[in-house]
Symmetry: none
Subunit: 194 residues, 4 copies
């Protein structure tokens, strides 16, 4: 596949991503993608054989992007608390971007494709996030910023809360106040000398 082909593939993926954000996963048809990209039916099949294939590649792009969010937060020299606050700020921004995110599509995709642990990107991301969060807490504890006797459990608690907020934002809707309240409580919890 030549350079031009790769560009076209990228072009399709970006357009498809837009559609998945609006319509979720299951509702998207090959025709939707064809129409959005203004290419021919057969043309799309040169690159992808199903919406599943398209979505899997969209997901790959997505993952490498979201990984960066964390890296950015960690990368900057800052106190543990600052990093945590920055992370929460990013998450909040993401959570409030209601219509325009892939959350629904990703969930739908994994409902449909109960993937084994290893290849499950959602799981991998979750595990990575927990690990980094745990390290962050441990560092914070080490330098006296945080108080926590079980950083792993706390890290998981935080990530499950974020999962809970994510799914809630897609099903019942959540307010900014709820996010602030949740993240604020966690921060307070960590900062509190027991």
């Amino acid at each position: 596949m030549g350079d031009k082909s790769l560009q076209k593939k990228q072009f399709i993926l970006e357009n498809a991503r837009e559609i998945f954000m609006v319509k979720g996963y299951k509702n998207v048809t090959m025709k939707d993608i064809v129409d959005k990209c203004e290419i021919s039916r057969g043309g799309l099949y040169l690159y992808f054989n199903s919406t599943k294939e398209v979505f899997e590649e969209v997901l790959k792009m997505e993952v490498s992007e979201t990984d960066d969010i964390f890296q950015d937060a960690i990368g900057e020299e800052a106190s543990s608390m600052d990093i945590l606050l920055l992370f929460f700020k990013e998450q909040k921004k993401e959570l409030l971007r209601k219509r325009k995110n892939l959350t629904t599509a990703i969930y739908e995709f994994y409902f449909e494709n109960k993937v084994a642990k290893k290849e499950n990107s959602i799981r991998r991301q979750f595990d990575v996030a927990v690990k980094i969060m745990q390290q962050l807490i441990e560092e914070g504890v080490a330098n006296g910023e945080f108080f926590c006797d079980n950083p792993l459990a706390m890290a998981r608690n935080i990530m499950f809360v974020i999962e809970g907020l994510k799914i809630s934002s897609q099903t019942m809707g959540i307010t900014e106040e709820m996010i602030d309240s949740e993240f604020g409580y966690i921060v307070q919890w960590l900062a509190l000398e027991e």
Copy 2:
């Protein structure tokens, strides 16, 4: 609608519920329901005009049932901690019942139908659960069992964690250990004198 009609409607709903548990929401067709119930196509349309209508009624049944779980836990005269532990035990049982629950279907339904707050049963249930949890914590604090300076935030934290566990169980899979760890940490936190 006569008595016999009501019975038939109920019969359809119960069968449909089984299907939704296995196939989720979007994958279920009117034909699936017709086949499972062994009624005629036209027959089904006498009672419901779409899978959406069917699911909405299934959901109504469901809600009244799940409400009971909480009531049961509260109803028994017991210490706040006992009630909390009982509640967690019920939730754990539910979380581990992998294939045979409506979780996926419900999420899918709400992805499809971003319902206004009022009519959103998932939201109503969540709010009720938070409120009761808050009361429980407050009682626990009052009688010296728990220590918590922000029962509302804590109640929300618990319910978001549960939401997070629920969605995770359907997408990436969770282990019994993860559930125990989460709930254990929360219990410990509440019981801990700061």
Copy 3:
């Protein structure tokens, strides 16, 4: 499937048969059948899931009919020679019905579906035909009409010649003269005292 349904199925099969006679097997699409029958796309799928299924049933009808040809010839009280001549006459008629027979379709079908011996109707028919022909020759020999020291080989020779004529009529075309010459030679061969 009710009585009416059976009639409709029969109706489809008869129309499909016409199409198979004209277009062969592979060239026939579900749409061809739909158009000829003037029914809806979905309507056809109520009865058959593929052209293969349709053709298999057409074949069943056909077999029971062709079986009769032989039975008719045998049924009449007549000399062995008369029966043989009658049989050849029928075959000739069939061979000359150029456009309007299923021969091509049947061959194409078996090219596509190299069926195991047992379920292979073409094989079954051939074997039956050989057996009956052998009996006929044996009877003819017994009553002094025919002379033949290997009725089985002769029966097979006759049936293979007929197969050869059949396929030749569909590929290179054969003349009435060729048929007469072939059958005439065989008759002479059998009648000839060695």
Copy 4:
């Protein structure tokens, strides 16, 4: 068309022939040929405009080859019987080479293209074969090896039997025993003084 072009054309034809042997005629697509030859789609169209055109040329190659079989048999100085036996041996070998021959493709091709006598290679080959067979028999009769009062009819009988065996080998399957029995009976018949 230059020398290099001719080579390429030949290269395509040889590869295409392989495909036709495996997949028959109708099932072969331009893509199949392109893939097998590892050339570009456009490249193939420089030489052939359709699978039909390709097959027609494959057929031409084929014919000149098969003609040789006969010539070889005749060429050697041998008794008529030896030549006949040699010819049958070749035919038998061909008949038993089940998967790897063009028989099915050729039949399919002529089903699709009911060609006029003149250009019909199958017909031409058949006629030639009959003629040579007739001469062979006549020679055999002349030198006292064979007994036959109608060499033309006998020659045709033989060739139709071979056609019958060919088609039968592709549709219902034939055993070695059946071939031996058929050819044996014919040989015996020719050798027999009446």
